[in-house]
């Protein structure tokens, strides 16, 4: 109660003092994304011997409001929602769903008045505007997350505070770090009973997470680089009150950089690596598994942009490797070793300072290793192809 009293007393007074000399900007982004895949098996592969396929159309909408009082404070509110229509057409696993997605939002307040360090606090949230219960064949609309953007369509209220700071060593070299906690709320979800689909409901109470992050960014002439490392502590997830799964703690490193060869030619690269420690057993008894059933995942993405006044276009390519088949006989789960190659291009046009139009398209080639011990049916090595296309507009006010 004391904390609430302090908050009620301090926030209105401080707000009126801080924003007497400020500038506000609003950005609106609307995009449409289309995914289409075909392959040797439907999803999940152990439950069908037939070739499979599916499509997804996703309409994300994002609004960003930024208020800046130079050398004093900066406030930013980002809200992203959307609408998705997802359909799998694999024989025996046909299903579709059309729904709003969950809405994710983040409010960040940054103090700019201390020379050399800019601390900030952020409150992030997932609002359950989507759909978490998919009864009957609708449950088959969930598809491989490497082939579609939205792998599932709703969860509960998630609240995530973050505390962090930028430390500006020079104008172009910044160290940053932060700590975040995500309180993941309870929600209902159908039971999956294959091949019937969703039957009945259960309550999922997902595990909360704590994450620490450290980052370094610098600019030097035509070179830009950012590197970030994080470590995540995972909590236990329960189904109907019974402990069911606790992922191993996770570490990941992600970096991106670009080099401007000249005013009309820029190359960008992004890469990441992630590693997950042993899970706690996913069926009783709730013990740490004897061997690590998680894979390491490596990603790299390369783009080149040719720039002309108001225009930018160029090729893109990427590679993903999940390095080992991950199977646990105690959990009856299998995540296969996988490689994903992609190639495509993107186009950007800025007809006005406050308008950005863009489009991109990619072709994907996916190879999964055989799963000889998959349940209920072994799965041979599988190949998939997919198209991903997106077009959007960003307006600044």
């Amino acid at each position: 109660m004391a904390i609430v009293g302090v908050a009620v007393a301090v926030v209105p007074l401080a707000t009126s003092l801080a924003w007497s000399d400020s500038q506000w900007d609003v950005a609106y982004n609307q995009e449409v994304r289309y995914f289409s895949w075909r392959g040797d098996r439907g999803f999940p592969a152990p439950f069908t011997a037939a070739r499979g396929g599916g499509t997804q159309v996703y309409f994300p909408t994002t609004v960003i409001v930024t208020g800046t009082a130079p050398d004093s404070l900066k406030f930013q509110l980002v809200t992203r929602g959307g609408f998705v229509s997802s359909r799998q057409t694999s024989p025996g696993l046909t299903g579709s769903v059309t729904t709003p997605t969950d809405t994710v939002t983040a409010a960040t307040l940054t103090l700019l008045s201390i020379p050399g360090i800019q601390p900030f606090v952020a409150l992030n949230a997932n609002l359950p505007t989507g759909r978490s219960v998919l009864s009957g064949s609708a449950s088959f609309a969930r598809m491989d997350p490497d082939l579609v953007d939205i792998a599932t369509f709703g969860e509960g209220w998630n609240i995530g505070p973050t505390v962090g700071a930028n430390v500006a060593l020079t104008p172009d070299v910044i160290l940053a770090g932060g700590w975040g906690y995500t309180d993941r709320g309870r929600y209902n979800r159908e039971n999956i009973v294959l091949p019937a689909g969703g039957v009945g409901q259960t309550t999922v109470d997902p595990g909360n997470t704590q994450t620490v992050n450290a980052s370094l960014g610098f600019r030097h002439g035509p070179l830009r680089v950012q590197i970030a490392g994080s470590h995540v502590r995972e909590g236990a997830t329960t189904f109907a009150g019974v402990p069911s799964v606790q992922l191993g703690n996770r570490s990941f490193v992600s970096g991106n950089g670009s080099f401007a060869w000249n005013d009309s030619s820029v190359t960008s690269v992004a890469a990441s690596w992630s590693h997950t420690q042993k899970n706690k057993a996913l069926v009783p008894p709730f013990l740490t598994e004897a061997f690590n059933s998680n894979s390491n995942v490596y990603r790299v993405r390369l783009e080149h942009a040719f720039n002309a006044p108001g225009w930018s276009f160029g090729p893109t390519g990427s590679y993903l490797l999940r390095d080992e088949n991950a199977y646990s006989s105690t959990t009856l789960q299998f995540v296969p070793a996988k490689t994903v190659w992609s190639a495509g291009g993107n186009l950007r046009h800025k007809p006005h300072d406050s308008v950005l139009l863009y489009a991109n398209v990619e072709r994907l080639w996916v190879t999964e290793r055989a799963r000889p011990a998959a349940v209920p049916n072994p799965v041979p090595a599988s190949h998939y192809t997919a198209w991903m296309a997106a077009a959007g507009v960003t307006l600044a006010f």
Binding site: A9, T62, S72, V121, G160, G180, D183, N213, S244
Partner: protein, 100 residues
């Protein structure tokens, strides 16, 4: 309730930050200054803050991070699929109902 305590703590911390800020801007540095008084690179500072905010919330939402989708590629590491996620997303899995 823990959530109310968390929200109240966040509000109190935000208020203290607000009170720490001077009411009148003295120079036009949109992302603050270095210790020597030079303006921080605004684009770099914004990108670093966004990176910390998103990477400290890896499980915030299955819908993706709180960023415009055309700027989300740099956070693809958060999409990496893991063993237990299959169970959490696709339901109870035991006996005749194994996870995919």
């Amino acid at each position: 309730m823990p959530i109310l305590r968390t929200l109240a703590s966040f509000a109190a911390l935000s208020g203290l930050l607000l009170l720490s800020a001077p009411a009148i801007a003295q120079t036009a540095c949109p992302e603050g200054k270095t210790a020597s008084g030079a303006c921080v690179n605004a684009e770099l500072a914004g990108a670093m803050r966004e990176s910390v905010r998103i990477f400290t919330q890896p499980r915030l939402s299955y819908s993706g991070p709180a960023v415009a989708p055309n700027g989300a590629r740099r956070y693809d590491v958060l999409r990496d699929w893991r063993q237990g996620l299959t169970r959490e997303i696709y339901g109870t899995c035991s006996g005749p109902n194994p996870c995919p």
